[in-house]
C-alpha cells in the first residue's frame, strides 16, 4: 500500500508551481477579477506549451498521456494559485466526457485542439436554480436541432463548444436524456454573461434556438454519463479546493506570525492557534480523502462513487472553513479588497456549488453507502 505521489509526480508539482508562481500571481488573478480580461490567456497558453492541458489525454489524441494522478497534481496547483482559466470545464468535464463516450471521429476532432489550447469547452447542464435532476432538463432536441435555455454555464462567454444535457422527449425521467455537442459560434446561440461571487471564473446564460447538434454517446444514457463525469470531476475539483485551502491557511498563519497585539505575535494566543489548528486538521483529512479518490479514479475502482462523494464533501468544507477563518485571523485587514483573503473566499464558495450543492453530494453519499452495504 502506498499513499503518496511518486517522485516524478512531485517534480511535476514543483514545475507547475514554479510556472504559476511566475505567471499566475494574485496580481494576475485580480486583473480578471477587476474585469480587465475574461480569463488569463497567457497562463492558458503557457499550460498548453508545457503539455499540461493534455496531461490526461492519450498521445494518439495529441496529449502527453501521463495520466489522471498527474492531472490531480496539476489541479492542486491551479487551486493554490486561484488560476483564472477555463481548465475545469474544458479538461475535467468536456475532455473527460469526450474520452469516455466520444466516437473516434469526435475524439479526433476535439481532443488534439484541447491539448493544444486551441479550443475551450464546457458542459451546459443547469436550467434552474437548485440541484439538477432529470426532471429539471427541459432543453429539447428534435431532428438534430436543440432549443432551450441553460444558465450558469461555466466559461459560457469564452468556450468554443459545449456539451449540452438535453432530452429527446418531454418526459421527466432519465430515459430521453442525451448529451449533445454544440458549436457555440453557431447561429441561434445567444450568450449573456452572469456575474457570480467569483468573477475570476466566467459564467453565462446561453439560449439555444434551433441550433444543430451532434449526439455524444447514446440517447437515454446521458444522465448516467453525466453522473460518472461528476464523480470524476469531484475528485479533481477537490484537489483544487485543497490547494486553495492550504494556501488560505498559509497566508493566515503568516499573518498571525507577523501581526502584533498586546506586545506579542497574535499567533502566540491559543484562541488563534486553535482556529489555525482546526483548519490544518480539516485540510489534512480532506487531503487523505482526495488521495483515496485519486486512486479510485485512476484505477476505475468500484469505490469511486463513495470516494468521490466523500472527498467532494470534505474538501468543500475544508476550503470554506479555511477561507473564512483566514479572513477572521487577518482581522480588519481580512475584510479589505486590498488583502487577498476574499479571493480564496470567493473561489471556495464558487467551487462549493459548481458541481452541485453539499446536500446533493450528501444524498449521493447516502445512496453510495446503501449500495455498498447492500452488496456486502
Amino acid at each position: 500500500m502506498n499513499f503518496d505521489f511518486s517522485d516524478e509526480q512531485k517534480q511535476l508539482r514543483d514545475q507547475v508551481r514554479r510556472f504559476l508562481g511566475e505567471h499566475c500571481t494574485t496580481k494576475h488573478v485580480r486583473a480578471v477579477l477587476e474585469g480587465k480580461h475574461k480569463y488569463d490567456r497567457n497562463v492558458w497558453r503557457g499550460l498548453a506549451d508545457l503539455g499540461l492541458l493534455g496531461i490526461a489525454i492519450p498521445e494518439e489524441y495529441g496529449g502527453t498521456g501521463a495520466g489522471h494522478l498527474e492531472l490531480c497534481v496539476v489541479a492542486e496547483e491551479l487551486g493554490r494559485a486561484l488560476a483564472p482559466i477555463p481548465y475545469s470545464s474544458t479538461i475535467y468535464l468536456a475532455a473527460e466526457l469526450l474520452l469516455r463516450v466520444g466516437t473516434e471521429a469526435q475524439k479526433k476532432q476535439f481532443l488534439p485542439k484541447i491539448a493544444a489550447g486551441e479550443v475551450i469547452g464546457t458542459v451546459a447542464l443547469v436550467e434552474s436554480m437548485g440541484d439538477p435532476t432529470p426532471a429539471s432538463i427541459r432543453t429539447i432536441v428534435q431532428a438534430g436541432r436543440i432549443t432551450g435555455h441553460k444558465t450558469l454555464v461555466p466559461e459560457g462567454e469564452i468556450a468554443d463548444f459545449a456539451i449540452i444535457v438535453g432530452r429527446e422527449n418531454s418526459l421527466n425521467d432519465e430515459a430521453g436524456i442525451g448529451l449533445y455537442l454544440v458549436d457555440l459560434k453557431s447561429d441561434g446561440v445567444h450568450i449573456k454573461p452572469v456575474e457570480t461571487v467569483d468573477p475570476t471564473r466566467n459564467h453565462a446564460e446561453v439560449t439555444f434556438t434551433n441550433v444543430p447538434v451532434e449526439a455524444l454517446g447514446n440517447i437515454g444514457e446521458g444522465w448516467m454519463y453525466l453522473n460518472a463525469a461528476l464523480d470524476r470531476a469531484a475528485v479533481l475539483v477537490a484537489f483544487e479546493q485543497i490547494g486553495g485551502a492550504d494556501r488560505a491557511l498559509e497566508i493566515g498563519r503568516d499573518y498571525a506570525l507577523d501581526r502584533m497585539a498586546f506586545g506579542r505575535q497574535i499567533g502566540s494566543f491559543q484562541a488563534i492557534k486553535h482556529i489555525l489548528a482546526d483548519m490544518y486538521v480539516a485540510t489534512t483529512l480532506a487531503r487523505s480523502n482526495a488521495y483515496y479518490g485519486a486512486w479510485a479514479f485512476s484505477t476505475n475502482a468500484a469505490e469511486l462513487g463513495e470516494a468521490a462523494a466523500n472527498v467532494r464533501i470534505s474538501a468543500t468544507q475544508a476550503y470554506q472553513l479555511c477561507s473564512k477563518n483566514s479572513i477572521h485571523v487577518h482581522g480588519g485587514m481580512g475584510f479589505t479588497w486590498e488583502y487577498d483573503c476574499h479571493l480564496f473566499y470567493r473561489r471556495s464558495n464558487l467551487l462549493a456549488l459548481s458541481l452541485g450543492s453539499l446536500t446533493m453530494w450528501e444524498n449521493r453519499l447516502i445512496d453510495a453507502m446503501c449500495k455498498t452495504h447492500a452488496a456486502a
Partner: protein, 408 residues
C-alpha cells in the same frame, strides 16, 4: 506510486485472521466486547483474550520480531485490527503492550527488555500509567512527585491521579521529578515501580458512571532501585513524549466503523417518528451518513499515516490529528447510538453490562429488559466524555499542531 488495493498475500492473511478468530474468539470474550461500557474491557476477560492471542503469537504484533512482534506490514496490522473489530473482539489493555513497551524497546536496557517484554506479553507483568498528578494534568511537565537519590535507590514521595487499573496492576510506569534546577521538562525521569513496594497506596476514584476503573496512587518514602529508570535520568520527558505518540496514534476507525454498522442495523429494527423504521428517517440517516463519512476520512488518514510510519517516519503531528478527529468521532457515535436507544428503553444499568471495573453504586436489581445495543448506549455515552480530556486534552493537541505543523 499510489496504490491502495490489497495484494493476494494480504487477502490470504485476512482469511488467516478470520479463521483464527472463528476458532479462538470464545463467546465469553465476545460478550465482553459487546457489553463493554468504555474503552476498557472487563479486566479478567481482557487478560483471557490476551492469553489466547499470546499463544498464537499475536499479542504484541507491533513489536520488533526479536521480542515477540509479528513483522507485519502496515496493511496487515490494519487488516488484523479491522477483523478483530468486525468479529466483536474486545480491545486488550494498551498500557503495557502499546505504551510502556515501545518506550522500553526504544530506550530500555537489555536487562529491562529481557525481563519485562516477555512478561508483558504473558500478562505476568501488568502495567498502569503514572503520569497525571492532582495539579498536573494537561500541564504535565509541572509534575511534582519527587524521587530523591540515595545510593542505588530513589526515594519517591508524591501522588498520581486518574490511574486506570492501578487496583489490578502490579507495576506502574511513572514520571517523577529528579531535578528541580532546570526547566520543568528537563528534570523528569521515567521510572518503573512495583505496586507492592512498601509505601504505595491505591485509593479508588469512582467515575460519573458509578464505575471504578481509575485510582489515585500515593507514594510515601517508596524505595525504587535506580536500575528501574528507563532512558537517562532527568531525560524522561523524551521517553514520555515518544510513548504518548503511540498512545494517541491508535487505530480508531475499525472499531468506529463496526459501531456505526451496528447502529445502522439496530436502527432498522426500531420505529422512527414518521417512518416505520428509524433508519428511514431522513434526519437520522443523514446523521449516520455523516459519521460514516467522518470514519471514512479517518480511515484513509490512518492508513496514510501507518504507511508513512512503515517507511520509517514517526506519527508526529499526525497522532494529534488522529486524537482530535478520532475522539470527536467516538463521541458523536455514542450520541447517535443513544438517540436510537432512547426510543427503546430508558434503563441505565451499568451492573448488567461488562464494565472495565466494579460498579460501586448500582440502583436496581430487577431483571434487565433492554436489548444489548440499547443497554450499553447510555454507559458509552457517559464514558466517552473522557475521550476529549484524556491522553492530552484536545486543546493540548491543537497547541501541539499549531507548533509542530504550523510553526506558531
Amino acid at each position: 506510486m499510489m496504490d491502495i488495493s490489497w495484494s493476494q498475500a494480504e487477502i490470504a492473511f485476512q482469511d488467516e485472521v478470520r479463521t483464527f478468530l472463528k476458532a479462538n474468539l470464545t463467546d465469553e470474550v465476545r460478550a465482553a466486547g459487546r457489553l463493554m461500557t468504555s474503552v476498557y474491557t472487563d479486566h479478567e476477560l481482557s487478560m483471557k483474550w490476551q492469553g489466547i492471542l499470546a499463544k498464537k503469537g499475536w499479542a504484541a504484533p507491533g513489536w520488533p520480531v526479536a521480542y515477540g512482534g509479528c513483522g507485519w506490514t502496515t496493511t496487515q496490522h490494519y487488516i488484523f485490527a479491522r477483523e478483530c473489530a468486525l468479529a466483536g473482539a474486545p480491545p486488550i489493555s494498551p498500557m503495557g503492550l502499546r505504551m510502556c513497551a515501545p518506550g522500553l524497546i526504544q530506550f530500555g536496557t537489555q536487562e529491562q527488555k529481557d525481563y519485562f517484554l516477555p512478561r508483558i506479553i504473558s500478562g505476568e507483568v501488568f502495567f498502569c500509567q503514572g503520569y497525571s498528578e492532582p495539579n498536573s494534568g494537561s500541564d504535565l511537565a509541572s509534575l511534582k512527585m519527587a524521587a530523591r537519590r540515595e545510593g542505588d535507590e530513589f526515594v519517591c514521595n508524591g501522588s498520581k491521579i486518574w490511574t486506570t487499573h492501578a487496583n489490578v496492576a502490579n507495576w506502574i510506569f511513572c514520571l517523577v521529578r529528579t531535578n528541580q534546577q532546570d526547566k520543568p521538562q528537563k528534570g523528569i525521569t521515567f521510572l518503573l515501580i512495583e505496586m507492592d513496594r512498601p509505601g504505595v497506596e491505591v485509593r479508588p476514584i469512582v467515575s460519573l458512571t458509578g464505575e471504578h476503573l481509575q485510582n489515585e496512587v500515593f507514594f510515601t518514602d517508596v524505595r525504587v532501585p535506580v536500575k528501574n529508570v528507563v532512558g537517562k535520568i532527568d531525560d524522561g520527558w523524551t521517553v514520555a513524549k515518544y510513548v504518548l505518540e503511540f498512545e494517541r496514534g491508535g487505530a480508531y476507525t475499525p472499531t468506529q466503523r463496526v459501531a456505526l454498522e451496528r447502529i445502522r442495523d439496530f436502527a432498522a429494527t426500531i420505529p422512527g417518528d414518521t417512518t416505520a423504521r428509524l433508519i428511514d428517517e431522513p434526519v437520522f440517516a443523514t446523521r449516520l451518513a455523516r459519521l460514516f463519512m467522518h470514519a471514512d476520512a479517518l480511515e484513509i488518514f490512518e492508513l496514510r499515516t501507518l504507511s508513512a510510519i512503515s517507511s520509517g517516519g514517526s506519527p508526529g503531528a499526525a497522532s494529534s490529528v488522529m486524537k482530535i478527529m478520532g475522539t470527536e468521532l467516538e463521541q458523536a457515535v455514542t450520541e447517535l447510538r443513544l438517540d436510537a436507544a432512547a426510543r427503546l428503553s430508558r434503563e441505565y444499568r451499568p451492573e448488567a453490562c461488562l464494565p472495565g471495573g466494579p460498579i460501586l453504586y448500582p440502583h436496581a436489581t430487577a431483571p434487565v429488559a433492554t436489548p444489548t445495543e440499547a443497554l450499553v448506549a447510555p454507559l458509552r455515552y457517559f464514558n466517552e466524555r473522557a475521550a476529549t480530556i484524556y491522553a492530552g486534552s484536545n486543546e493540548i493537541q491543537r497547541n501541539i499542531l499549531a507548533k509542530a505543523a504550523l510553526g506558531l
